[in-house]
């Protein structure tokens, strides 16, 4: 439409989750419909960009050295749950059923997309797993070829440390009937069955 508007669109539509149409809506909203919201957005972006950074220990977002979870004295320091990305961590936290610490890998191995071991946040994890207080590393990576291969790789890397390595289970969604589950999920659910008390 105008050169500056087009440049803005181009930047916006590169953002994750935004297509051309949503980029257009956002641009028009900020420039024409609600220009007063633009200032606060710019300010918030600037402030966040200046203060938010990865936690030096686990890779979660933090404003100081450590994130809120690593800094929390009430978390169980004996277990580390390894996830791919921060949103996975947020999802686990929302479940409210985990009281240990996390480690965010910032991805999973995917050579065809150029993601190798060097691109992953692995060194701090090995260091942490080597400390005496850690007893268990829980692998909460996705259940696809790349996620599973990353689990194989992690368990090789962790072989030297004296920790229990576990993998989260895959099975039926809560409240879901067997009849609605797809065959692959049912297979995982059967493989992951346990004794019933």
């Amino acid at each position: 439409m105008t050169p500056a508007f087009d440049r803005l669109l181009d930047v916006l539509k590169r953002l994750p989750g935004l297509g051309y149409r949503s980029a257009e809506r956002i641009a028009l909203h900020l420039l024409v419909e609600k220009p007063e919201s633009l200032e606060s957005l710019v300010a918030a972006l600037r402030e966040a960009a200046g203060s938010v950074r990865p936690c030096t220990r686990c890779g979660n977002i933090a404003e100081g050295e450590l994130c809120a979870i690593c800094a929390d004295p009430n978390r169980d320091r004996a277990s580390i749950c390894v996830v791919e990305h921060v949103p996975d961590l947020i999802a686990m936290e929302r479940s409210g059923s985990y009281r240990g610490l996390y480690h965010v890998l910032q991805g999973k191995l995917a050579p065809i997309r150029g993601v190798g071991p060097d691109a992953l946040n692995i060194a701090p994890l090995l260091e942490r797993a080597g400390s005496d207080e850690v007893r268990e590393v829980i692998l909460a990576l996705s259940n696809d070829v790349e996620g599973e291969a990353t689990c194989h790789w992690l368990s090789d890397q962790l072989a030297g440390s004296n920790v229990r390595i576990s993998r989260i289970g895959f099975g039926l969604p809560s409240g879901g009937g067997v009849v609605f589950a797809d065959p692959v999920t049912l297979k995982s659910a059967l493989e992951g069955r346990r004794d019933y008390l």
Partner: protein
């Protein structure tokens, strides 16, 4: 299984068609290029939501239209009356089964089997191994639970391994992907072996009924590697690694599997005449039909694209004899099947994408 109604919109050269099928044997007759095979392809699309001729979605959508649509009403042995609706767009497609969206192909494949007899089938014998693997993979993906999952997993992990090999294969990630490949490879080899043993017997039996020669015709699995455990497959990868790194890709594995057609103990690709080769591929299709039916309890729809015309009267008679009476057959040809007799066929005349019941 029976197809009772098909509706088409903007599929290839067919602007609009709505056909109802009553009898078990349906014949589409017309000159070349009028749309007979297009209709057969639309029927076959119901099996795997893909066309049997290569090409992208653009080729499936009529010129000038935004999307193509196919609606099917089927009578199914297990699920009764089922309705499938498919929309094909330039990018992607959507399907619903009885109003529910089909989200994963793996859950859908194999429900509505079809078996295609085509004059191009002779390429299964003469062509490259990739064509035979494709036949075997499509067959097993439809009737062997877990096969498609193993196939996708194997190929995905293989792709990653090949990339790592191109980069020298030195890193610690290589082994991680090999460990994903290994159980899938073992699964593929075992499923293919079992299926080929069964198909081998079926092909031999049907070949005996179709051909008049005394020679035995059959098919035999030619696995590229033997591995009956993940450990054995990992050992093979380790053994071949140096060469794999030199070439920059995985040289051995089920992605190089093949099967051979044999006639009188000899390789039919080299020693059989054209007529003998045609009899062999017919026998393979009959074997596939029987295997699907026995495994799933569902009688596939049979699609015969221009094959009846190229058979001599004796073979054609045997073709009918080999076909079970209760399967529904859709055949095409430029002339009506001479000896079929009036009233036995439901005939549609095809001209420029328009179908008229005769």
């Amino acid at each position: 299984m029976k197809l009772s109604t098909i509706r088409l919109q903007n599929f290839r050269n067919i602007a609009e068609a709505s056909l109802e099928f009553g009898r078990g044997r349906v014949f589409f007759v017309g000159a070349n290029g009028q749309g007979k095979t297009n209709l057969l392809e639309a029927i076959g699309y119901v099996s795997a939501l893909r066309a049997f001729r290569p090409g992208d979605n653009r080729a499936l959508i009529r010129d000038g239209a935004g999307e193509a649509g196919i609606g099917y009403v089927l009578e199914h042995e297990r699920t009764g009356r089922s309705e499938v609706i498919v929309r094909i767009r330039l990018r992607g497609k959507e399907a619903t089964l009885d109003g529910e969206p089909v989200r994963r192909l793996a859950d859908y494949l194999g429900r509505f089997p079809t078996v295609l007899f085509s004059s191009g089938d002779i390429q299964l014998i003469r062509g490259a191994p990739a064509g035979r693997r494709r036949f075997l993979d499509l067959h097993l993906a439809g009737c062997e639970p877990g096969y498609l999952e193993a196939l996708q997993k194997y190929h995905r992990a293989l792709e990653h391994r090949n990339r790592l090999l191109k980069e020298g294969g030195a890193g610690s990630a290589l082994k991680a992907f090999e460990r994903e490949m290994a159980p899938a490879a073992v699964r593929l080899i075992a499923a293919r072996r079992q299926a080929m043993e069964k198909l081998g017997g079926l092909v031999e039996a049907f070949h005996g009924r179709i051909s008049d020669g005394a020679e035995t015709g059959t098919v035999a699995y030619r696995p590229d590697v033997e591995a009956d455990s993940a450990e054995a497959f990992l050992a093979l990868l380790a053994k071949n690694k140096m060469r794999d790194v030199q070439v920059g890709s995985t040289q051995r594995g089920p992605h190089r599997d093949d099967f051979a057609f044999r006639l009188g103990g000899k390789d039919a690709a080299i020693f059989a005449s054209e007529g003998q080769q045609r009899a062999l591929v017919l026998a393979l299709r009959f074997g596939q039909l029987r295997d699907v039916r026995e495994r799933s309890g569902v009688a596939p729809l049979v699609l015969a694209d221009d094959v009846l015309g190229e058979l001599d009267p004796v073979r054609r008679e045997r073709f009918w004899a080999a076909l079970e009476d209760d399967v529904q057959l859709f055949a095409t040809g430029t002339t009506l099947p001479g000896n079929a007799g009036e009233g036995q066929w439901q005939v549609f005349r095809v001209e420029a994408g328009v179908f008229r019941e005769a």
